[in-house]
């Protein structure tokens, strides 16, 4: 049983299509997850009980549940109850946003907490409103502090996109299994998939390390 790497170029279209879907899912999950994460982070720091408790409950709940379950729930369960059918990609995007925002939220909260009280008070004393203080002080300073942790989580999200496999979304991994069903060259195909992820994530963590060093 020799190695036949030609199976990759032969099926390049399918694989590329899958990868493209993975990218779409990734980018949209980030686009939704980061802002929501900022809100959740702020919510966890709120002194208003009616914000703090629901947000904390939500975060603690989601963090105890597998991402797989969240994806299932949104794709299978929700449509049955609401009568609306959501497509695979949309379900996956929503699930990711809902799930990953909690992780972002905790990281961002730590970042916000590291901003010294004095700096915030200085901002308020010059007449800035809460929203302005958040926008011009908390976010620039706090977010910058936790960029390494955020980068790590972003890399995790990129890997997590593979879970959309379970609802049949044709992302990169699902595409590769489709090809494998045809070609039965699992070592070459899955090896290729593994290498692609490995490469991208290594590049990501190198960038993250550089950013961390620059920040010091």
């Amino acid at each position: 049983m020799g190695l036949d790497m030609s199976v990759i170029p032969r099926n390049f279209n399918v694989l590329l299509g899958g990868f493209y879907t993975t990218l779409k899912l990734f980018v949209l999950a980030l686009a939704g997850g980061l802002p929501l994460g900022i809100f959740l982070g702020l919510g966890r720091l709120s002194s208003r009980k009616w914000i703090y408790y629901p947000v904390s409950a939500y975060i603690n709940f989601i963090r105890n549940v597998p991402l797989l379950m969240v994806i299932f729930w949104i794709y299978f369960a929700l449509p049955i109850v609401t009568g609306h059918n959501i497509g695979r990609l949309s379900s996956a995007i929503i699930a990711f946003i809902v799930f990953e925002a909690t992780y972002f939220g905790e990281i961002i909260r730590a970042g916000f907490q590291s901003v010294k009280k004095g700096e915030l008070q200085a901002a308020y004393s010059t007449g800035l409103t809460y929203t302005q203080a958040v926008r011009y002080i908390l976010i620039p300073i706090g977010l910058r502090r936790v960029i390494p942790s955020l980068m790590t989580q972003i890399i995790v999200i990129f890997q997590d996109t593979s879970l959309a496999y379970v609802i049949g979304l044709r992302e990169f991994v699902r595409a590769s299994t489709i090809v494998n069903a045809r070609e039965i060259r699992s070592l070459e195909i899955f090896g290729f998939v593994a290498m692609v992820y490995l490469l991208i994530c290594l590049v990501g963590s190198t960038i993250s390390n550089r950013l961390e060093e620059k920040g010091e």
Partner: protein
């Protein structure tokens, strides 16, 4: 078209039994993999702190490799690629998915645990090394009696997180055919079309596991508390 909730689904036979079965499978899968992860992770984490360049390089390669490939892909490797390589007798084994899931999950989690161990061991103050070595302890004795016990306690919070995570990650085993908790909830859904209820039940199961882990690790932390260190007085 209104939806009729049927919560009885999850307490009726055979579905209740399926769920219970899945719950127990998740517990066992998580626990055994955790054992592998701790054992492997401790070794690799320690290797990464040794003064030998080659040892550190081996450790780093392991961690970077297993950490940067999605768990799903790793499981596929364990289930689809490796068994045929071992031999057809292996490929046809009864409990193949179960065994491969345990290995895959354990080896993957070990890479993350190794990082926490490395960080913990490196956080042990240098003076402790000096003190141990100055009484004539060998490097091995130093690690075994001073550095590892000390470093371990520093790592309990991140280790707790990993312990929680391994049970969540165990859900992926359903993709290679292991009927653990999430797999069962999916199956019930396909049989009864009441996946909302079955998935909710499964979520409840995971919450129970998560709660138990947190309580257990809290007990462990208390037992290992070092007075004067890390707020333990």
């Amino acid at each position: 078209m209104g939806y009729q909730f049927d919560w009885g689904v999850i307490v009726r036979e055979p579905y209740w039994h399926w769920l219970l079965n899945g719950f127990i499978k998740t517990l066992i899968l998580g626990s055994i993999s955790w054992g592998i992860a701790l054992f492997l992770g401790l070794i690799i984490g320690t290797i990464r702190t040794l003064p030998l360049k080659l040892a550190r390089a081996i450790g780093k390669t392991y961690v970077e490799f297993f950490r940067n490939i999605p768990l799903l892909v790793q499981l596929f490797f364990w289930y689809y690629v490796i068994p045929p390589m071992v031999g057809q007798w292996f490929n046809r084994m009864q409990n193949l998915p179960w065994i491969m899931a345990i290995f895959g999950l354990g080896v993957y989690t070990a890479s993350r645990v190794a990082e926490h161990f490395r960080s913990g061991l490196n956080s042990v103050p240098k003076g402790q090394r000096h003190a141990g070595l100055s009484t004539g302890l060998t490097n091995f004795q130093l690690y075994r009696h001073v550095i590892i016990p000390y470093g371990f306690r520093l790592m309990i919070p991140p280790i707790t997180t990993e312990f929680l995570t391994i049970f969540k990650n165990s859900a992926l085993a359903m993709t290679i055919g292991v009927l653990e908790l999430s797999g069962q909830s999916y199956k019930i859904g396909t049989w009864t079309f009441h996946s909302f209820e079955s998935i909710t039940a499964a979520v409840g199961g995971y919450l129970i596991i998560g709660f138990t882990v947190i309580v257990f690790m809290g007990w462990v932390e208390k037992k290992l508390k070092i007075p004067g260190l890390l707020g333990g007085e």
